[in-house]
């Protein structure tokens, strides 16, 4: 077992950290305050190849393997202090671009992926509904056959990137009797589709630079070539998307944890109280030591799960373990960083109170911590 990064992976990491620090961190406090998504930065990420990291080059992607994609996203989370923007990238790439790359027909891949990878178009995943969150497959959105296509009707809730999306990956019931087992289908719905619109936009506690909203389908007609993964293939497409998201989105959080750790160490070394740096007090140093332990364990989980995903092995339980541990570690680390920085940590300009607000959603999105524990227990046969 070799844990060292290849030279290519080290170069990849360095180049993304440099890019993120130089290009993505301007005015983050203000962007957070005003909930501003920067489209110009999105375009730059497209030019940098970040929006299509694991997609083959022939479709406009960067052609990276899964582990290298995790390393790249970790670097993005480390270098970019706008966690909302990083979240938008993950919400576009992992449950939208990746499934199109995996399940798309040749025509779909050639038509959609170059612009999605290149930063010209933004995608949103539309699964959750007003009445369904953890119980996702109890969805009400219906797709009914109509000639050579389908008519979609329903409302999708909490769609990350929804208000700015050019394309939505929509899950709908095509056969209520079959339900999970062949009754759910995935559709690629383009912004211009008649009867499809972004509705209300929500204000949220953290990740404020990542727009989130409702998507409404009012008998929106899509042709047969909008089906992704075959009619009835929705459950598999969703499970695959969750495997990617629960590993790779949380790779970005490993980067965030490292950035917060460095901030806490730096502050604890220079801030003096009672005649010595506060890092000399065990109450502070042990807190920071625990941050380091969580960081290293989280990184190992992400790398191992990413490697396994790349080997095309079953990773559902690994993905849940990774998601659960990394999200709860991120939250603890963000809270501890605020505590170490004390009164300064509570102030907006020090940019750690924002990290805490941004971290809170991580134990909710992509399946709550409670759901991850349920899934792990079920895989253990309980």
């Amino acid at each position: 077992m070799n844990f060292s990064l290849t030279e290519e992976q080290k170069t990849l990491r360095e180049s993304i950290v440099r890019f993120a620090r130089n290009e993505l961190n301007e005015d983050v406090v203000e962007r957070d305050r005003t909930q501003t998504f920067r489209r110009d930065l999105w375009t730059k990420c497209g030019e940098m190849g970040i929006l299509g990291l694991p997609i083959p080059e022939e479709y406009g992607g960067s052609g990276l393997d899964v582990l290298s994609t995790a390393i790249a996203l970790e670097a993005l989370g480390y270098g970019c202090s706008d966690a909302g923007f990083v979240f938008s990238i993950s919400a576009h790439l992992l449950p939208c671009v990746v499934p199109i790359g995996t399940f798309g027909t040749e025509e779909q891949k050639k038509r959609l992926l170059p612009d999605l990878c290149g930063g010209k178009r933004i995608a949103a995943n539309a699964m959750t509904e007003p009445g369904t969150g953890s119980d996702a497959f109890a969805m009400k959105t219906r797709a009914v056959r109509d000639g050579r296509g389908f008519r979609l009707a329903g409302t999708k809730m909490f769609c990350s990137n929804g208000p700015i999306a050019d394309l939505a990956v929509v899950f709908a019931v095509t056969d209520p009797e079959k339900g999970y087992h062949g009754g759910i289908t995935t559709f690629l719905v383009e912004k211009e589709t008649e009867g499809f619109r972004a509705s209300q936009k929500f204000e949220k506690m953290g990740l404020r630079t990542s727009p989130i909203g409702e998507l409404v389908l009012e008998n929106a007609f899509v042709s047969e070539d909008a089906v992704l993964g075959g009619v009835g293939g929705g459950a598999t497409v969703f499970a695959h998307s969750m495997d990617w998201e629960r590993i790779l989105l949380f790779a970005t959080h490993v980067g965030t944890m490292e950035r917060l750790l460095e901030k806490a160490v730096e502050y604890a070394r220079i801030r003096t109280q009672f005649g010595q740096p506060i890092g000399k007090f065990q109450g502070v140093s042990h807190k920071i030591a625990d941050m380091k332990v969580r960081l290293e364990a989280a990184r190992l989980l992400v790398y191992r799960s990413a490697w396994k995903l790349g080997e095309r092995k079953s990773v559902s339980m690994d993905a849940s373990i990774t998601k659960l541990f990394v999200s709860e570690s991120l939250l603890e680390t963000a809270l501890d960083t605020v505590q170490v920085l004390g009164g300064y940590g509570f102030m907006t300009e020090y940019e750690v109170e924002r990290a805490l607000r941004d971290a809170i959603g991580s134990t909710i999105y992509s399946g709550t911590s409670e759901m991850q524990r349920n899934i792990i227990a079920r895989w253990l046969g309980l």
Binding site: K178, H181, G182, G232, G233, A235, H240
Partner: protein, 83 residues
Amino acid sequence: MDEGIKQTIKEYILKEFLPGERPDALGDSTPLVSGGILDSIATLKLVAFLEERYEIRLEAHEASAENLNTIEEIARLVQSKKG
């Protein structure tokens, strides 16, 4: 139909999803999906098992009630994928 495939699938389902159940209570035509034995996570586990055990790859739309509702149907699917 390969009886060995059916037997392997039956043993897996008994062990994973019906612990303590009598083997003769699970027949080749016992409904697994409509009978509530295969829920979403159980289906994921079963598909992962089939793909690894038989070195096959199921398409997204193939993890359906038509293909997975009985041991008979699952074995037929596996055999068709093995070629």
